[in-house]
């Protein structure tokens, strides 16, 4: 009896979960499917879920028009580069905040977060002028720095909450053993913190990959990442939804795949101290 009830319940819950999951995923699925349609089928009404005539034409067209690989490489370089820079700065800071907190720690943290609330568009011209003076326009280094700064507060906070969960006893034991601070960091803390650092890294890569204001406005040709690639397919003269879908699919696929593969690591650290 009880077993049948459980199975029945599982069927109901499974069905519900799958329906909700597919609904949420639908816009993405629809984009991917549309990218294999002809332009005519893409705006056909009533729409058909699966392409009536599967075609790769849109992908060929997109590739012949813009250098996907170059944009992709720039996206990879910028998002990874900015993440590495952010970690280099954030790991020591978060470590210090977590293990030697002062009464001001929380205020500093909140202040860092508040810097994220400045509307980017309001400071575009000042930043543009600075970048022009420093020769950083259309330069991947400049973008790395900007994105590092954009995400630093989140990174520090995430690491901080993660480090705080590491039991202090272990550190003390290490100290008793005469470990210096440097050794403490390298041999004790880092191994324990790797999962947290990994998921912070992932989140930061995702945020940097998807950042579309600075990456679009501070680049021209050489450093332009995938956000600029998309801008050459959005609102053209004519409704080219199949090509737009193909370009969109190409732009989101790498990060989607990365996100899916690393889902477990990402989730583990994505708690911001929400789980005790």
């Amino acid at each position: 009896m009880a077993r049948a009830a459980t199975t029945q319940r599982k069927i109901v819950v499974t069905t519900a979960a799958w329906i909700v999951g597919l609904l949420i995923f639908f816009p993405i699925l629809w984009t991917i499917l549309t990218s294999f349609k002809t332009e005519g089928d893409a705006i056909a009404f009533p729409p058909s879920l699966f392409p009536p005539h599967w075609t790769l034409e849109n992908y060929f067209e997109v590739q012949s028009r813009s250098d996907y690989f170059r944009h992709f490489v720039n996206s990879v370089v910028i998002s990874i580069g900015s993440t590495v820079l952010a970690l280099l700065i954030a790991v020591p800071a978060a470590w210090a905040m977590a293990f030697s907190p002062t009464p001001k720690t929380r205020d500093i943290m909140m202040w860092m977060l508040s810097t994220k609330m400045m509307p980017a568009v309001g400071v575009l011209v000042p930043i543009y002028l600075i970048f022009r003076t420093l020769g950083l326009l259309d330069n991947v280094w400049g973008l790395m720095v900007i994105l590092m700064l954009m995400n630093l507060p989140i990174v520090v906070w995430m690491l901080y909450t993660y480090f705080k969960e590491i039991p202090v006893d272990i550190l003390e034991a290490a100290r008793m053993d005469g470990a210096t601070l440097g050794k403490e960091l390298v041999y004790v803390l880092v191994p324990m913190a790797v999962p947290g650092i990994a998921s912070t890294m992932l989140l930061n890569v995702i945020l940097a990959w998807n950042e579309a204001f600075w990456t679009l406005n501070l680049t021209a040709a050489r450093a332009a990442p995938l956000t600029a690639f998309i801008a050459s397919y959005s609102s053209p003269e004519g409704l080219f939804w199949a090509k737009l879908s193909a370009a969109s699919t190409l732009a989101i696929a790498p990060i989607l795949v990365l996100g899916w593969i690393s889902q477990k690591q990402l989730v583990r650290g994505l708690t911001f101290g929400a789980v005790k």
Binding site: Y128, L137, A223
Partner: protein, 433 residues
């Protein structure tokens, strides 16, 4: 760990700044004609092996904001800019553009259409070379017109358009009598409405730069537009721009469409279900001596301070030459040649045969007068825009207000009053008043 070499390699590729011969960075719009130009790059680089081309192709609004920021701050990121007839007079006045003096002996500047050339020149010097030019005109369905028992004259009036729209509308069959732009933006609904208002005798500003939205001519314009769209326009028309209307027309859902002349080749092209049933007419008037058609040219220019003026001029001469027209014709057919820039194109019998809309396009372009766009005198140039830097912002805001009136979220009177107040404020802020 196998990923590491890949990533490291990627870094090296991205960080190594290529310092090869001479690379022109060309900023352009993602319209069909420009994409074709990009594909034909090889023809240019074969003839000029020492010059390489790097394309930055973006949608219009993003491109405009990037290019304007760059030229105004002297960022120097682009060597060739694609800009419109709105920017050229403003930027020329600021000294931001290089005069195009060396386009070559065989360029034949005098072949450029006078209306277009006039809008891109100052003191007799050409500051931007037109890549393609357009006006606006009426595109209509001959079959539906016949069914309604009407005949479209070559030069219709607005009253006739309204009458025809009412007659052609057939909601049950999904036919909308008329499709017009409703999406907010100075280059979207305001391009159409400003050109339309010219024919109604309205104007943006009087000679002292006082906004004129409180005048009866604007009320006539906007009421006529809103009433007609409510009676005969498609659903959700306040979010329809060029693209949406094009798709509607191609699918046979519009009786008439008044929009850019470049649309003519699309509605008669292979994607159109009504290709063989389309007729063309001049934009309507109200008997006041001005028609409701605009004038626009996407043009190529070189920013002042560029180190590569010579190469840039070589490229511009190529892209806007007669040779380029022949190149496109040989690869894609005459109907796909960028229109609206050269007299010789319209005299070409091959083009006339391939493009049934050629004559109407030429007549529309020639009938637009950017220097005297309105019935009453105005202190500005520009047909569907006002060539002052403030216009982009004001046009956007007013466009939003008129779009709200079309959506029924505010009345025509409220929209006009708000438009008047906003424009007045901005003009005061900018120091005109």
């Amino acid at each position: 760990m196998k990923l590491f070499p890949v990533i490291a390699g990627a870094f090296l590729v991205a960080l190594a700044s290529s310092a090869s011969a001479e690379t022109l960075t060309i900023a352009t719009v993602n319209n069909g004609d420009m994409i074709l130009m990009q594909k034909l790059t090889d023809d240019f680089t074969t003839a000029n092996p020492d010059i390489q081309l790097q394309w930055v192709t973006m949608e219009e609004n993003v491109l405009r904001q990037k290019v304007t920021t760059d030229i105004a701050t002297k960022g120097g990121q682009y060597d060739v800019l694609t800009i419109g007839t709105y920017e050229v007079p403003i930027w020329t006045k600021q000294g931001w553009l290089v005069p195009l003096d060396n386009l070559g002996a065989d360029y034949d500047v005098d072949d450029l259409l006078p209306a277009i050339r006039g809008g891109l020149s100052m003191d007799g010097k050409l500051y931007a070379a037109p890549f393609y030019g357009e006006s606006s005109m009426v595109m209509y369905r001959k079959d539906l017109m016949e069914k309604a028992g009407l005949t479209m004259p070559d030069a219709p009036t607005w009253d006739f358009i309204r009458q025809a729209a009412d007659a052609m509308t057939d909601r049950a069959a999904g036919i909308n009598g008329v499709c017009l732009r409703g999406k907010a933006g100075w280059g979207e609904n305001m391009a159409f409405l400003t050109a339309m208002s010219n024919s109604f005798g309205a104007r943006w500003f009087d000679e002292t730069w006082t906004p004129q939205f409180d005048q009866p001519e604007w009320k006539d314009t906007l009421s006529f537009y809103v009433d007609m769209m409510k009676a005969d326009g498609p659903e959700g028309s306040s979010s329809n721009g060029f693209n949406e209307n094009l798709a509607l027309f191609q699918q046979g859902k519009c009786g008439m469409w008044i929009d850019a002349t470049v649309a003519a080749s699309f509605v008669t092209g292979k994607d159109s279900t009504v290709a063989d049933k389309v007729g063309f007419a001049l934009a309507p008037d109200k008997g006041l001596g001005k028609r409701g058609n605009w004038l626009w040219a996407w043009s190529l220019a070189v920013p002042a301070g560029s180190q590569k003026v010579e190469a840039a001029e070589k490229f511009i001469a190529w892209a806007t030459s007669k040779h380029y027209a022949e190149l496109v014709a040989s690869k894609e057919g005459w109907a796909n040649v960028p229109p609206g820039t050269r007299t010789s194109l319209y005299a070409n019998p091959n083009y006339q045969a391939a493009a049934p809309f050629a004559k109407m396009t030429l007549d529309s372009i020639n009938s637009a007068d950017p220097t005297h766009p309105t019935v009453k005198p105005v202190p500005y140039v520009g047909v569907q825009f006002v060539a002052i830097p403030e216009f982009a912002g004001i046009g956007m805001t007013v466009g939003q207000l008129f779009s709200a009136a079309l959506a029924g979220q505010s009345s025509v009177d409220d929209a006009l009053k708000q438009a008047q107040d906003v424009t007045m404020r901005e003009m005061q802020k900018a120091g005109y008043l």
